[in-house]
């Protein structure tokens, strides 16, 4: 058989599959370019970063969330007590079914619950099973332990005097910004969060937002409400300044896609407010020494660009002034 020269007419299913692949590829390419020139390392915060530790954390909860995700609650007093909003952990995945995973996997700290007199301090993560590492992670039983290193990275920080905030998360990116919602709730900052995803039943974070008193704006691919132009128009309308509740937010924090970071930066420029974006990169050490996690942005080839684990994962995002 020749590998070129198809002789059969493609079926409708084949055409749909091809269109989906092309769409995914176009999105990935747009997403890759979206961050160029947009992000910069945040100025050092006055609040010092906590010293990372490693711990053998007991798995207290490990359960499915919807069809695609899993919730993991880990007991670690030190990490729960010190983690800042937007920081992450490196999780060492134990061997599973003859497969050994070498590199730890970075995961955002979705929720922090410090120790009480009768409960250990816990951190909650939500992850999607996407490849070998997360598949092996999904097999870890409740009652087992996971070796984790953290808290890592530079997280979100509310500018002094912030009274309201807009948070935007897509897919598991919601976990990247939920820590900021926790801080906002504690500080009495009025918060709105966009939860974006493919299907309505896949939107993470609804119950967390309800618990934290965060107003939710759902956006899904299914009904087109996650479309960037549509979402931008909707958010501008939502914060049109006509009533005190509709005053534009004092800060925007975003995680989950480069194109959303760009959208946030455009809104930030429109309202004249700062934007912070959490980014992802393949990682090995999580501590800043392996230089594996270059931020996905084009930089001058003779100088090293920012590292996501040590300079981020949260960066300032602003539309470059031409």
């Amino acid at each position: 058989m020749s590998i070129d020269a198809p002789v059969v007419t493609p079926t409708a299913a084949t055409l749909r599959a091809r269109a989906a692949v092309a769409q995914a590829r176009a999105f990935a390419e747009a997403d890759e370019r979206a961050l160029d020139g947009l992000v910069s390392v945040r100025p050092r915060s006055a609040v010092p970063r906590p010293q990372p530790v490693w711990d053998d954390a007991e798995v207290l909860v490990h359960e499915p969330v919807g069809e695609r995700y899993r919730r993991l609650v880990l007991a670690s007093n030190t990490i729960a007590a010190t983690a800042q909003a937007g920081q992450f952990l490196m999780i060492t995945v134990p061997p599973h079914g003859g497969d050994t995973i070498l590199l730890p996997r970075p995961m955002a700290i979705h929720r922090r619950r410090p120790a009480t007199t009768d409960h250990p301090g816990t951190v909650e993560l939500i992850y999607g099973v996407v490849g070998r590492g997360t598949r092996a992670l999904a097999a870890v039983p409740v009652g087992g332990t996971l070796q984790v290193t953290g808290p890592l990275g530079r997280g979100f920080g509310f500018p002094p005097g912030t009274r309201s905030a807009l948070l935007i998360g897509r897919g598991v990116g919601v976990c990247g910004v939920m820590g900021a919602a926790e801080d906002a709730a504690a500080a009495g900052i009025r918060t709105t969060m966009v939860l974006s995803g493919q299907h309505p039943d896949q939107l993470l974070g609804r119950s967390d937002c309800a618990e934290l008193g965060v107003q939710v704006i759902g956006a899904t691919d299914d009904d087109g409400s996650s479309d960037l132009t549509f979402l931008a128009t909707r958010l501008r309308g939502h914060f049109d300044g006509t009533t005190p509740e509709r005053t534009p937010p004092g800060v925007i924090m975003v995680c989950g896609a480069g194109v959303l970071a760009r959208l946030a930066a455009e809104l930030g420029a429109h309202w004249g407010v700062p934007v912070q974006a959490s980014l992802e990169a393949h990682m090995a050490c999580g501590l800043g020494y392996c230089h594996g996690c270059a931020a996905p942005v084009r930089t001058d080839p003779s100088v090293e660009g920012p590292l996501v684990c040590a300079d981020g994962p949260v960066f300032d995002a602003a539309i470059p002034v031409v």
């Binding site: 010293q51 007991e58 007093n77 070498l102 730890p104 050490c285 020494y289 230089h291 930089t299 660009g305």
Partner: protein, 331 residues
């Protein structure tokens, strides 16, 4: 319910690991196990150190670095370099592939920013030095002066003077590099060799004859990972270096060949995760080991190997690793 709350004095596993160090060192003080190894004029207290690029001073707070024989820096080049485009690393079965591209701030940048943090650690600093021309190594070592307790020459770099073949795959080029560096420093010199060479024995011998105090075998192995779905290269640089457990049998052979060729110590590096991996390399002639990839998932891996070697020697009632290996020798 949770071990952490069982009234232990340690808030987390890291703290417990540090605390275990003092118990362990107390035990050694009672019954001496000599684990020291000499690299030229430098004596290392333990034959275990990190591999270049797989350690940073940030680890000083996570592991008791003082239990290691030395630290090894990421390779320092003569001029500032930016590193490769994303992605810079990925995992493959039994290994990882990296194409970090060795970003470097040059010797002045290294001395200003990183070195003070290395110097504050409780182990000698071996500075890794690289170059893309034979003449590039000596000026970097000269600029670093007395700051390195020893220098590791990373010769797994494409030689821009000779069609980009690795400097370290050409015994004549190794000889020139080592001889030039020998002129500018009296510090111990380690030559870190690549895997893809016609004769590792000839490369190791060239290093020894030109004045090296040890060879390190070996660097990562050129490889190309593809995305399973798109069948496109995962790495921004397309190709990278394979490291981790899958390279251990390949490097074991090279260490065996190199140790038969030279008198100077051979430092083994390739897929070492456990005490038994280290003992395998010692049994084919290595005098010391470096731990790379394993440290990412288990930052304490190298310290565990040191403790394990001491514990095995104590349990067997022997005073050195050589004696420990003799016990295993076939009768």
């Amino acid at each position: 319910m949770v071990a952490l709350l069982d009234g232990t004095a340690h808030p987390d596993a890291r703290a417990a690991f540090f605390a275990a160090a003092s118990d362990d060192l107390a035990a050694t003080a009672l019954s001496a196990v000599d684990m020291s190894v000499r690299i030229g004029s430098l004596t290392l207290n333990a034959p275990v150190m990190p591999a270049s690029g797989c350690f940073g001073p940030d680890l000083g707070a996570l592991i008791p670095v003082g239990e290691l024989g030395a630290t090894v820096t990421k390779t320092v080049f003569g001029s500032a370099r930016g590193g490769n485009p994303v992605h810079r690393l990925t995992e493959v079965p039994a290994g990882m592939v990296n194409s970090v591209g060795i970003p470097s701030h040059g010797p002045a940048g290294y001395l200003a920013t990183l070195h003070p943090r290395y110097a504050a650690l409780d182990a000698p600093t071996i500075i890794s030095v690289g170059g893309h021309r034979i003449g590039e190594y000596a000026p970097v070592v000269a600029a670093l002066g007395e700051h390195g307790a020893a220098y590791e020459l990373n010769v797994s770099c494409p030689n821009l003077d000779r069609d980009g073949t690795d400097i370290g795959s050409d015994p004549a080029a190794i000889r020139e590099v080592v001889a030039a560096v020998r002129l500018v420093t009296g510090k111990p010199l380690i030559v870190k060799l690549p895997v893809l060479v016609a004769s590792i024995a000839a490369c190791a011998l060239a290093a020894e004859e030109a004045g090296a105090d040890a060879v390190c075998v070996a660097n990562s192995i050129p490889a190309m990972p593809l995305d399973a779905q798109t069948r496109r290269p995962i790495l921004g640089n397309v190709i990278g270096g394979l490291s981790g457990p899958s390279i251990k049998p390949i490097v074991l052979r090279l260490v065996w060949l190199a140790s038969r060729a030279v008198q100077i110590p051979v430092i083994a590096c390739g897929g070492i995760e456990t005490v038994d991996d280290a003992l395998d390399y010692f049994s084919v002639g290595a005098s010391a080991v470096q731990v790379g990839t394993a440290s990412f998932g288990r930052p304490f891996a190298a310290v565990e190997i040191v403790r394990g070697l001491r514990r095995r020697s104590l349990d067997a009632g022997v005073g050195s690793i050589r004696e420990l290996l003799d016990l295993d020798a076939p009768r």
